[in-house]
């Protein structure tokens, strides 16, 4: 049962197309599994569409011709309507990843994304998504049964979407579909008793905060 959802403002920014691809993918992965957020998205999209298509203020065009001139417009219409109306909506393929000896379906949002090979340290293994977004980095992360991530905090934010399995931290236990947003005000050390597969997005390397764990800082950079 999903208990952790993206907050409303984040869903609104998602609908408006204002977020980096990695965050969009994380939110989309949650929404695919969450009826509640799907409904919220439907309403937000409607509202956004109304807003965008009802703006009367054309001041944005101060230096630009507001109206296309008629010839240009007619040419465009003629060009468009000379095409066939034969668009076929292909059934999207469902991508899978092998983890813990089974095939797990991945969110549709990852369909056109490539990722590097999984590389592991102990019970942790991750593959970086090839999104090319500077400081925003995202990974598929597997935690083997009994595995844990050392205590850490973040300079920016860290998003985890649980794609399969479960894990706990000091605050909660999480299950499939949960969307977990942490920022620098939180530290946590997730533990997964039965193993799990996550999608993670972080905008900066986490900073490890506890004694011994400080030695593990390179792992911190390794994970997120």
């Amino acid at each position: 049962m999903i208990k952790h959802h993206p907050k409303h403002e984040l869903l609104a920014a998602f609908v408006a197309g204002e977020l980096p691809a990695a965050l969009n993918i994380a939110i989309s992965a949650h929404v695919e599994l969450c009826d509640e957020c799907q409904q919220a998205i439907t309403l937000l999209t409607q509202a956004k569409a109304d807003e965008v298509f009802s703006i009367e203020d054309e001041s944005v065009f101060n230096n630009v011709e507001v109206d296309l001139d008629d010839d240009f417009e007619d040419l465009m219409i003629a060009q468009i309507t000379s095409q066939k109306g034969d668009y076929v909506d292909e059934e999207p393929t469902v991508c899978t990843v092998e983890y813990a000896g089974k095939q797990v379906n991945l969110p549709r949002a990852l369909n056109s994304v490539n990722w590097a090979k999984f590389q592991g340290v102990g019970k942790l293994s991750r593959a970086r998504l090839d999104l090319d977004e500077g400081t925003v980095r995202s990974y598929l992360l597997q935690i083997g049964a009994g595995g844990s991530v050392p205590m850490h905090t973040h300079k920016g934010y860290e998003v985890t979407v649980l794609l399969d399995g479960s894990f706990e931290d000091e605050m909660c236990s999480y299950s499939k579909g949960d969307f977990i947003w942490l920022d620098q005000s939180f530290t946590h050390s997730p533990v997964s008793n039965d193993g799990c597969l996550c999608l993670t997005v972080a905008d900066d390397a986490p900073v490890f905060t506890q004694g011994l764990s400080k030695l593990l800082n390179p792992i911190g950079r390794f994970i997120y």
Partner: protein, 209 residues
Amino acid sequence: MLQTSNGNMNQSQVENKRSMLTPEQSAELKQWLIAVALKRDKKSFALLFKSFAPKIKSFGFKQFNSEALANDLLQETMSLVWRKAHLYNADKGAVTTWVYTIMRNLSFDMLRKMQTNKEDCLSDDIWPIVDAHAADVDTEEFADHLLKQQLAKYADALPEAQKQVVRGVYFNELTQEELAQQLNIPLGTVKSRLRLALGKLRQQIEENS
């Protein structure tokens, strides 16, 4: 406010205000889009185009700060409206919402192309437009969706007149009365065309399964 069929945006209204579409305007947009879906009606398309063009350009200009790119966005968006009209499902939302998602998706991919070295088009998988439940392979909805796809394939082989009614009823989810009105033919004709078409479809599906 979108322009209505009778045309020009009243300049005195163009100020810092917003107004939602009236129900009549929404119905009008829907009627035009359905006419494009069913009949590839160029006149209706031109009306849709003129309604949305200034808003799409304005949106594009804010995104790209370039008039040329705003025009690209306009052309790409309206091209998809033309090519995908038959996939519009009036039950799933307003025309404005449908056009918005097409425009937002295109604009996201364009921006991404400008900001990264990537040529990937992620948007349609991030914000699936037609059916969001591809992963729920077990659900009835998905079975329905598959059936629709099959139906779509076979329906393409039907004569134009029969194709129109099948699409209208099963894809645009119009009632037979609405369809009769839309196509400007008697209700009885809609019924008989549909009966003929369904007979042929059944035969084809049986032969192929």
